[in-house]
């Protein structure tokens, strides 16, 4: 198009050039140490003051008690967001464990912002904490921060979401394989060991879909050989897709006795499809224990779901970190047990 673009005129381009030059100049000055950002000075001063206070205090206490340990170990916990009940419970679990095992826990909220997360971790590094527990906002975005901590020789542990790089001492997350196994055992018993079962899978290739599926499939094959898995189809963890997919399976299969969906959204979609097609007598099992699923269990539409235990996750994370500080070798992956929710124990 020959028409001149009004929003990118000559003057605009010049401004942009000047702006860019200024930015490069400033960057170089910062790198050469000519200017230091104000906030950094403040933070450094603050850290020095805080550290000396802490040291004084610990000196005082150690003198008073005359214990050999010079100072209480400090752990930093960086959480992706505290605007989510799951992570709030996780934090509470971690704090409780920190109190009982006598370590100081600094909790920081990244507010789901990778940039905030990076500066949180930088702060913890400059405060020289003994170990950093990270619940990353994003598996890739956290990698540079993990490497920075590695450079500072501070051990890093990840919680719930893994990091795709850097050296991580241990990863603490829900045991999805055990969850799939639990679902298979419940469904197998509910069907008295025989019948036709449909499995709705999550997004292919995700670790949740893989682990939940593996746990379910191997248990079904080993413990309930008379249960036939007649369809195994992906519905991408999505309620709308599960509705369509299960409609299709309902038409293709005249007899279905049980359904395991790898998350609750999908199981709720499947229940909707079964209700619309007026098919009854199907036992549904979901995963995640979201509010809607809890409600469906109370209404008797859903038989069971699997719940993660964030408080236990937080507790295990702090426990593992303390083990690391005490020089014990820890496993690369610490699985956090999950819990079966049925109408007997529905909250």
């Amino acid at each position: 198009m020959t028409k001149r673009r009004w929003y990118w005129g000559e003057s605009g381009r010049k401004d942009a050039q000047i702006f860019r030059k200024e930015m490069i100049k400033m960057k170089n000055e910062v790198l050469e140490g000519k200017i230091v950002r104000k906030g950094v000075i403040k933070m450094k001063k603050f850290v020095i003051i805080a550290l000396s206070l802490v040291m004084l205090a610990s000196l005082g206490t150690s003198c008073a008690k005359t214990t050999p340990t010079a100072k209480k170990p400090t752990l930093g916990l960086v959480i992706s967001t505290l605007n989510n009940p799951f992570f709030v419970t996780l934090r509470d679990g971690a704090q409780k464990e920190a109190e009982t095992s006598g370590v100081t826990l600094i909790v920081m909220d990244s507010q789901n912002d990778p940039a905030k997360e990076a500066s949180n971790i930088e702060d913890l590094i400059s405060r020289k904490v003994d170990a950093i527990l990270i619940n990353p906002t994003d598996s890739d975005a956290v990698v540079p921060s993990v490497k920075k901590a590695n450079d500072a020789n501070i051990p890093v542990l990840t919680i719930d979401r893994a990091a795709n790089g850097g050296v991580v001492v241990s990863h603490i997350a829900s045991d999805n394989v055990a969850g799939g196994k639990m679902a298979a055992e419940f469904l197998g018993k509910a069907l008295h060991g025989k019948g036709k079962v449909v499995e709705l899978q999550g997004i292919p290739g995700t670790s949740a879909a893989r682990d939940r599926g593996t746990g379910f499939d191997t248990t079904m094959a080993q413990e309930f050989p008379d249960i036939q898995i007649i369809a195994r189809q992906p519905a991408d963890f999505d309620r709308a897709k599960a509705l369509s997919v299960f409609e299709n399976i309902l038409t293709a299969q005249p007899k279905i006795d049980g359904v395991f969906a790898q998350n609750d959204e999908m199981v709720l979609g499947a229940i909707q499809a079964a209700e619309a097609a007026k098919r009854t007598g199907i036992i549904f099992v979901g995963y995640d224990a979201i509010d809607d699923a809890i409600k469906a269990i109370k209404e008797g539409k859903l038989a069971a779901t699997i719940q993660q235990q964030p408080a236990l996750m937080g507790k295990l994370a702090v426990e593992t970190a303390v083990d690391v500080l005490n020089g014990k070798t820890v496993d690369k992956f610490i699985p956090v047990p999950v819990k079966l929710i049925t109408k007997e124990n529905v909250p």
Binding site: M1, K3, R5, Q201, P204, G205, I230, A231, R232, Q233, P234, D238, R239, A240, L243, S244, V245, E247, N248, I249, T251, A252, P254, E265, L268, G269, Q272, A276, D292
Partner: protein, 317 residues
């Protein structure tokens, strides 16, 4: 082109294949599936496929209009999500159903107009403008709901997704009406003629006095409106609205339009082709579930079948 080709006598079958190649592919697919499963060609399953395809169908009608002007609309899925969560929250606040629906549809048209304005008056590339709107609408939908799904809508709202008119489910009735109305506009009105002219040659269209900007604005507003309409049906079917609704719907709609023979460079295509394209993709999804194709292979099979169907009539062109 058709007239010169028909003069060559024996080349007639090529024209036929090019024009109806996708129909042939579609019937071959249906034939293969009905041989593979005796429950495929049942009334229940036909209704199933039609009901599931109605949502993609309604979106694809808007997409056809946009693509005919040589544009593209990537924002349909996100517009669907935003209008769906807004409508659902209005319904939960006990607003009359008709008012909630009208607000949702108007919001859809308004959002479509935003990309229409960016494309027409501000000369942004359609790809960029609608990509921007796509991320903004998804973000707004997430912010508006705080990332949580809105559940338990008033039961009287279900009719739009789960109700039926005689033996025919309402979503199919609405989709059929949208297709017929769209076809009428494209073939029997001045506006339709202008859309084709604009897609064929924008400079010539401008020179011949067609209000190009207004036509572009209209097609994007229509696309937004129809996305919102599809959203209403979807939340009626699900009895809940999640901010993650409709992700990836733009690809299904574009695939349907392209499979239906509409040219991405504009000016060529029709809604009959889009209808076949939508049904093709609907039957394909249905068939993959019927044959219990492994999750890991599903994408490959789907892509190969679509590519094969397209090749069949691109080769003879």
């Amino acid at each position: 082109m058709i007239s010169t080709a028909s003069l060559q006598g024996g080349a007639n079958w090529k024209i036929l294949l090019r024009k109806y190649g996708i129909v042939v592919s579609f019937f071959l697919l249906c034939l293969a599936l009905s041989l593979a499963s005796d429950r495929f060609l049942t009334w229940t399953n036909i209704l199933n496929v039609l009901r599931q395809s109605s949502i993609n169908g309604i979106i694809a009608v808007g997409m056809t209009f946009v693509i005919l002007t040589a544009g593209i609309d990537l924002s349909v899925g996100s517009v669907l999500a935003l209008t769906a969560v807004v409508t659902a929250s209005l319904l939960q606040r006990n607003l009359p159903i008709s008012l909630a629906i009208i607000t949702g549809l108007a919001l859809g048209a308004a959002l479509g107009s935003v990309s229409g304005l960016l494309v027409s008056y501000l000369h942004l590339f359609p790809f960029i403008a609608t990509l921007g709107l796509m991320t903004i609408c998804r973000g707004l939908a997430l912010t508006y709901t705080g990332g949580m799904p809105i559940t338990t809508l008033p039961s009287s709202f279900d009719f739009i997704g789960a109700g039926s008119l005689g033996p025919i489910p309402i979503p199919i009735v609405i989709a059929a009406f949208v297709f017929l109305a769209g076809h009428f506009v494209l073939t029997h009105t001045n506006l339709g003629l202008r859309i084709y002219a604009l897609g064929d040659n924008p400079v010539a269209a401008r020179l011949s006095g067609i209000p190009v900007n207004k036509v572009i604005l209209f097609v994007y507003a229509l696309s937004g409106f129809l996305s919102a309409l599809a959203g209403m049906i979807l939340i009626g079917r699900l009895d809940s609205a999640a901010p993650t609704l409709g992700s990836g719907y733009e690809f299904d709609a574009i695939a349907a339009v392209v499979v239906g023979g509409t040219n991405l460079t504009g000016g060529e295509g029709n809604l009959f082709g889009t209808l076949i394209g939508v049904l093709f993709i609907g039957v394909l999804d249905n068939g993959l579930n019927f044959l219990n194709v492994s999750a890991l292979w599903e994408g490959v099979v789907k892509g190969l079948v679509i590519a094969f169907a397209l090749l069949m009539y691109r080769l003879v062109k």
